[in-house]
Structure formats: structure tokens, C-alpha cells
Amino acid sequence: MSLELRNVGWNAGFKKIISDVSLHVTRGEFLGVIGPNGSGKTSMMSVLGGIRAPSTGQALLGDQPMKKIGRRNLARHIGFVEQQADTIDRITVRDAVALGRTPYLSLLTPWSGHDDAIVCEALASVEMGPFADRMWHTLSGGEKQRVHIARALAQQPDFLLLDEPTNHLDIHHQLGLLELVRALPVTVVAALHDLNHAAMFCDRIAMMNGGKLIALGTPEQILTSQNLHDVFGVAADIEIDDQGRCHIRYHAGNQKSSAIKKTGLRNPVF
């Protein structure tokens, strides 16, 4: 089963948001998507997840256009965790994760013990087992994020798409969550805003800017001083450690503009 975009463009009304994105997700990899705010990461991911239909080009799952596969079937192969999704409903953690079984249930195949087992397992794999009977609104941000991931895992997907999964988490929980996701036996596509995290966890990185996919490759190929300067407008040195991992060291003071400076400042010097 493969997941692929071919020359995909997506418009909001008459506004071109992303254009000409071609991307082939390799089975079993952890693919990071990076790019400045507004560069089209979320838009690209929702086309990749089959939530939005491409305006031009094709989105394919297993060499079939997603349009032909249908929502319900797509949801059995692709789990999607949005950038932000909350609810005011009084719902337990277990019920929230149980929603992940929606694409498998119908009048003829009602909820069964098998579904219970999958929900338990999904909770366990994000280490939220003890929280199963807690109410959603009593969870912390990091716990909510894990439950969202468990919900997506309950879909038993081949591909897990995560849009900025570490937003609003402290550094400990950011790293914990990414480690956990990396250890899962699924193919992961994750939009990440911390470039050092992208360097640490990704097998490949897709770099977006202005609605275009401008580079795709290993962290060492993508995270170069030149690229960071051109795309993020930050001055940075890249160090490669003895394990071949990239580390990014930002320089304060000579960024392109104040708006962009924020991106740099959010990432502490490592």
C-alpha cells in the first residue's frame, strides 16, 4: 500500500494555496513536513489524508485515486490527527478512542468485543491505558494529543498523519510524544515546527514554502544553512554529530525580519 501525491494543487475559492506537490510516502518511514507558518503544510496533509480533494493533480492510495476509494475505505488506511481538535461534549477517553472504529462499524457489523480490544490496545500503545475512564475535559494538552493519536490508531491505519502534534506541549512531552510515535508500527507523516525534532526523528523531510514542496530528502540533505536561510530566514549552523545526526544552532540578531525572528527564537539554542 502506497500513499502518493501527483502534481497536486489545492485552491480555497480562487486562491491557490498549494500547487504542484508531488510526494511518494515510503512504507514504514517517518516523514517530516517542515516549512514556515502558512507555507501549506496543513493543506498538503489534508489532501494527503483524503480529507480535501485536490483541485488539480491526483492523490492516490495504493495506486488508486482517493476519489474512487471513498471516505470510509480511506479511513481504514489513513489516520489523521488535526492541528487542533477539541470538544465540549462530556465524553470519556475510551469513548473518544472508540470513535476511531467508526469506519468499520455499520448496522450489519455493530460494535463487538474485537473493537473493545482494539481500543484498549490503542490506548496502551500511547500509554494512556490508566486514563481510559477519565473525562476528556480533565486531560492536559499532552494527554489529549495522545488520545487523539490513539483514536487514529484505533482506525488500524497503514498511514498515520499528524499535523503539528507537539504544539502546546512542553519539551519533555514533545520528545516523549515523538519517541512514542516513532516506535509505533505505522508509517508516519508529521508536520513539525521544531527543526531539531525533525532532524532527530525523521527518516526523510519534505520542506514546504509558499505552497510548494521545494525539497525532499534525508535530514542532512534538507537541513542546510542555505535552506534554513532561504526558507525560514534564519541564520544557523548545522553540526553533524558522530551518529550522523544534524543539530541546528541558530544565531540571534541577524534574522531577515521580526516576523520570522519568532520562528528562530522559539527554537532554543541546542
Binding site: R71, A75, T87, D95, A98, G100, L105, Q156
Partner: protein, 358 residues
């Protein structure tokens, strides 16, 4: 594929299976509500200006349903069967439909304050009703009810047309609904002010606040099937409604055909509401409060919430109708006054208990 990997950490299995969890309790509540519904309809048949014993009520029903041949005073039997039972049945269908529409709209629009009249339906119905009653549209050939029904549909169409180019989202629908309601309410006021005599204005007011006194069996034949079909369609989509818990995009990622669900369920809610409003006027608060009350008893999963809302709504409206008939001697209070008198404080209590808005 996320396969059956060994569980790293023991997770307590649900106390019962999720399907079976609290199933008995909830089934019990539903069964209880059904018994309550039959009971309250029987009460509605017994109470009124002339009190008739419950035994006579059941005998009359038995006579009509399976020719039981009990000896019942024909006048009592006429009151029970032709006036009170039909009236109670319509009240039940109406309460169920309004509560159901409210529950569905609250789920789809992700808004605790959504109610069936949000779609402009009651405002449109009132405009339609005054157009017939005061302006004389249809020259006496068209009933108040038909006028209200047409008005409701026109207003709903207006709201839908407004919402679609505005982006189709929940926010757009709510804003379009508010705009549409204001417009049609203003039209109603305009017509009443310009053309109505004081008596006509009072009559229309009374009708708008909800009025079950003209209800007969033909109304039951319309209201009951609409309520039952509405309930079945909504139940068919109950899992889809659950999937909206975390919003539209999340529902889409769970494989729900979001647009179709929106169109079908909003159309169903609008039709149910339009039919009920055209029969009994716009009874407030049922569609807003009952779904919250139902959530209090059975939780937020729609497989339970929808039937519970329908049953509680039905019981509530039949009970409210009884109260409206006996609270003032020799006078019937509009039922909408009762529902608001009970509904507003009930809503305040629910609100304070944080069940609605955290």
C-alpha cells in the same frame, strides 16, 4: 498496519464491553420513559375540564383498538378519543420531533445553544401564518397550517441559500439562521402592525405561542409518521453524529461523508420542525433544553441520546399540555408559555451544573 502488538501496559478492559456498558441501565431508562409516555398520554386523556377516570380511558382505548366492547359513556368516549388522545399524540410527536431536531443540530453545528428554530423555521412559519390570517393570502382556501408550513420552508430555503455561499460551515449556518429569523420576524411584525385588528393580532399571538386545541386525528396521521420517520433517519446516522465530536474535519477523517450527512440531517430536522410548527405553532425551549436533559441521563453517544431525547421530549410536551389545560380555571394557557416557564429555569440549572458549557 497497526497490528496486534503485545500490550506494553495493562489496560483495564471496560467494565462491561463498550456495546454492553451500562446498556441495561440505559435500556431501562428508555423502557421507563416509554412506560412513562403511555402513562402520561393516559393522564392527558383523563385530565381536563371534565375529569374522567383512568379506567374509562383504558377501556375506551381498548374499544377503539381491538373492539373490546367495554360499556363506556359515549360522551366520555368521544371526549377521550376524539379530543384528548389525538391531542396528546400530536403533543408527543411534536415534543419528540423538536427534541430530536435540537439534538441533531447541536451535534452537527457543534453548538450547545443550537435549537430547531435556529434555521429560521419558526420565524418563517409565523410570517406564513399571518400572511394567511391577516393579509388573507389564499382567499380562505388555504389553512393557517399550510400557510405556516410554506412560510417555514421559504424561510429555511432563505437561510440555506444564505449559508451556502457564506462557506457552509457551522458558523455560517448559525449566522444565516439568525439573519433569516430576524428578517422574517420583522416581516411578521410589519404585517401585524400594518394590517391586523387587535383581535386578529391577539389570535395570531396565541397561535404562535403554541396551541394544541384545534388538533384532531388527521393531524395525528401527519405528525406521528413524520416523527417516527425522522427518528429512524436520525438513528441511521447516529454513528456519523458521534464522529462529529471533534469537529467536521475529524468526522471526515473517520470516513463520514460529511456533506451528505449535513444535507440529509439538516433537511430532516427542518422538515420535522416545519410540520410540527404548522400544526401547533412554535413551541419554544423543547428543542433546546430536552437534548441537554437527555445527555444528563444517557450521555453523549447518539445511539442512546436520540431515542432518549425523543422520548423525554414527548413526555415533557404531553405533560406541559396537561398543565396548560388545568392550571387556569376555564382557560387554556398557550403551551409555549408552560414550556418556557419550565424550560428556562431547567436550562439555568443545567447550565449551572456545567453540563452545557464547561
Amino acid at each position: 498496519m497497526f497490528e496486534t502488538t503485545p500490550v506494553q501496559q495493562p489496560v483495564q478492559p471496560p467494565r462491561q464491553s463498550l456495546a454492553g456498558r451500562a446498556y441495561l441501565a440505559r435500556a431501562g431508562v428508555s423502557l421507563g420513559a416509554l412506560v412513562l409516555l403511555v402513562g402520561v398520554i393516559a393522564m392527558a386523556a383523563a385530565k381536563g375540564e371534565t375529569h374522567i377516570p383512568l379506567g374509562t380511558v383504558f377501556q375506551t382505548i381498548a374499544n377503539h383498538l381491538w373492539q373490546a366492547g367495554y360499556d363506556v359513556d359515549p360522551i366520555d368516549a368521544g371526549i377521550i378519543w376524539n379530543y384528548r388522545i389525538s391531542r396528546a399524540m400530536v403533543a408527543a410527536a411534536c415534543g419528540a420531533s423538536l427534541a430530536l431536531s435540537g439534538a441533531v443540530l447541536q451535534a452537527l453545528l457543534r453548538n450547545s445553544l443550537a435549537d430547531p428554530y435556529l434555521l429560521g423555521i419558526s420565524a418563517g412559519a409565523s410570517t406564513g401564518a399571518v400572511s394567511v390570517a391577516i393579509l388573507g393570502f389564499g382567499a380562505g382556501m388555504v389553512s393557517l397550517s399550510l400557510g405556516a408550513f410554506v412560510g417555514a420552508l421559504v424561510a429555511f430555503g432563505f437561510v440555506a441559500l444564505l449559508a451556502i455561499p457564506a462557506g457552509r460551515g457551522a458558523g455560517a449556518i448559525i449566522l444565516a439562521g439568525v439573519a433569516g429569523s430576524q428578517l422574517f420576524n420583522a416581516l411578521t411584525s410589519f404585517i401585524v402592525t400594518k394590517a391586523a385588528t387587535a383581535d386578529e393580532a391577539r389570535g395570531v399571538m396565541f397561535w404562535l405561542l403554541g396551541n394544541l386545541s384545534g388538533v384532531r386525528w388527521p393531524d395525528v396521521y401527519l405528525a406521528l409518521p413524520v416523527a417516527v420517520i425522522g427518528l429512524l433517519v436520525c438513528l441511521w446516522y447516529s454513528r456519523a453524529l458521534d464522529a462529529f465530536t471533534f469537529g467536521v474535519e475529524s468526522a471526515a477523517s473517520l470516513g463520514v461523508p460529511v456533506r451528505r450527512v449535513y444535507v440529509v440531517l439538516i433537511a430532516i430536522a427542518a422538515s420535522m420542525t416545519a410540520v410540527m410548527v404548522s400544526i401547533v405553532g412554535s413551541i419554544g425551549f423543547v428543542g433546546l433544553v430536552i437534548p441537554h436533559a437527555a445527555r444528563f441521563f444517557v450521555g453523549t453517544r447518539h445511539g442512546f441520546l436520540l431515542p432518549a431525547s425523543a422520548l423525554i421530549g414527548a413526555v415533557f410536551l404531553v405533560a406541559a399540555d396537561i398543565v396548560s389545560r388545568i392550571i387556569l380555571d376555564g382557560q387554556v394557557l398557550p403551551i409555549g408559555v408552560i414550556t418556557a416557564l419550565i424550560g428556562a429555569p431547567a436550562f439555568a440549572i443545567i447550565l449551572c451544573h456545567g453540563r452545557v458549557l464547561r
